[in-house]
């Protein structure tokens, strides 16, 4: 299967499963999200990106994650110091579950609402 077709099928399946489209309002499948969170922790994503994808040693992933296509591309062939996760370690399905978990993460408060950050 060529990679574009493969991605299209993956994209569609995720959209159906999650009941959303990338960038649109997310209606999450709890089980999908739960499995995504489990993988996120087991394969060590949280080590660099935080338990809620908020970033740490690595960049922030959520809320408002990048597109699923870019997400999978970066996980498979990271352009930086991040280790590459092959399909043997993380299947396409598991990546989609992780992505669903990222999409489920709620927005952070605005700086202006946090007194000790804004100084107000």
């Amino acid at each position: 299967m060529n990679s574009k077709l493969h991605f299209f099928l993956v994209f569609c399946s995720v959209a159906i499963l999650v009941g959303t489209v990338v960038g649109g309002p997310a209606v999450q499948d709890d089980d999908l999200v739960e499995r995504g969170e489990k993988h996120f922790i087991e394969v060590g994503c949280f080590q660099c990106h935080g338990y809620q994808g908020q970033g740490g040693a690595g960049p922030r992933l959520a809320p408002d994650p990048i597109s699923l296509e870019n997400f999978i591309r970066i996980v498979r062939r990271p352009p930086n110091v991040m280790p590459a996760y092959s399909p043997k370690v993380l299947s396409e399905e598991q990546l989609e579950q992780i992505y669903a978990y990222m999409e489920s993460i709620s927005q952070d408060p605005d700086v202006s609402t946090i007194e000790i950050l804004s100084g107000q």
Partner: protein
Amino acid sequence: MKNRRDFIKGVAAASTVSGVAVESKISAKPVQTQTVSAVSALPPSSYVEAMESDVPEGYSEAQATHYFVRNATSDFMVDVVKSLGVEYIASNPGSSHRGFQESVVNHGGNSSPEWLTCLHEESSVAMSHGYAKIAYKPMAMACHSTVGLQHASMAIYNAFCDRAPLIVFGGNHLDAADRRPGAEWSHAAQDPAKLVRDFIKWDDTPVSAQHFVESMMRAYKVAMTPPMGPVVIILDGHLQEKELNSAPTIPNFAPTVPPQGEIGALREAARLLVDAERPVILADRMARTPAGMNRLVELAETLQVPIVDRGGRMNFPNNHYLAQSGRSGQLIREADVILGLEMYDFWGSVNSMRDLVHRESRSRMQSNAKLISLGVNDLYLKSNYQYFQRFLPVDLSIGGDAEATLPSLTEEVRRAMSASRRSQIADRKKDLQIAYGKMMDQTRRRATYGWNQSPISTARLSMEVWNQIKDHDWSLVGKAIGQWPRRLWEMDQHHHYIGSSGGGGVGYGAPASVGAALANREHGRLSVSFQADGDINYAPGVFWTAAHHRIPLLSVMHNNRAYHQEVMHLQRIATRRQRGADGSAKVGNTFEDPFIDYATLVKSYGIWSTGPISDPTDLEPALKRAVDVVSNGEPALVDVICQPR
């Protein structure tokens, strides 16, 4: 015969020993700015005087000589240490330094130096390391011969890498014919200091009182001359305990003026900096004292050049618009001239090498960028341990202590500027202020990520602590968790941050924090430390030392229940080998089953504590209570379950 009381008076009059330069004003003068500390030898009590000079009642002279020592050599040793202004000796007890220890307590009155009871030699050394960064002078530690020195060695390596001056006293028994069977043999060595000689600046084994005083003077000078570092004096047990029958003379003591860069080279550096369009200054182990910070501000403002503070010391106030460490990538990428000041790793700052299967390095700067280094790295180098990092070819390499040299460099920069160039350079200010504002806005925005989550984000923890301490005279004496304090706390005093371990040896954090807090105590400062859970487990007994000696320190646990850096390393290797999806990277790296209860751990050492806290809304009341405890002069610990980074 000149007795040691006379000796002390002589030293008090003659010596100008103490810490390093602490100047509040920028000056182009050479840095010969030693402060004079009072010599603290106390007059002997009548009891001590009687013990030292009289034959006890009922004893013949021969019996007295058989049973008693009237004029112990180690008393003289203590007088010498007092004359150098050494205020503390941290130590585990050991028979090889019993003569010296007894003299500190009973002859010296256990004051300047005061004997601090420690539970591990690594704690004693790391306490001295942290102390030196706040006190700007060394304290000492004493360890029991070969076994103690081996325990101490890792912490000595950290101090060496971090250029921290400290004095290590190691006991030994040199004369094999006079060693008792058992421990005096197994704990003795022909050359004990050999164990650590690769990572100390100097050592000696004095065999007489005169030898001792000269060695101590030299040791102090060597330790305090940049690049500063640890020194070792081996105290022979027989020498400590025997009668002092000689009349030691007093060497003249003058601290060594730190070396400065050559004026012609500074002129050339000034020309390059003045002509540059996009210069940047990187500073690492530069500001040894508050004077270093002030001098760097003066140079930066004269050139309107952004500063990237690598954090080896508190080099530059982070609330100054030229403090632009958060833009380091862009600044280095665009720079046409880069000045490195006392860089720990200059190569690694302007190049990158990614941890991939095939390692390739890549320059992060323009190919025609000019590099200038100013520092003491090349003035003192050892071979075996590779602490000196990769060699970096530069265009101009100036050997000299950067803090001492900056006034001359700033003066040369001013001379090299025409009026029109001065005006052009001044025009950079507005853009740099805008860039600083954007950088800070972005940093605050990033701090909101995961703000209300549990485990608690490092940014949230950092700011909750800041909210409780900001109105105090505070000092961050532990790690800068996630670098948030260095980005968001207002740091504009030299004691606001003390840098890190130097050698990266885990176990530095807790004892170095206690040592720095000890130095802060006399200034009434609130010392605060973010305490890593991996670090605390090396030698947690230092919290008993803090409790016992009433050292006020607020320790806030960054408890992520693992050696998380190692988890990441194992995960990296596993994914490289296409396995490890089952969480196996946790094996050998995490503290689970059972979790460690740090509040209970330190409570057993006599420390006020609370936690573990995992809900961020519980932080404020807990930290308030802890700050109250510390403000009353006691140590406290708050255990917080945190995000990994």
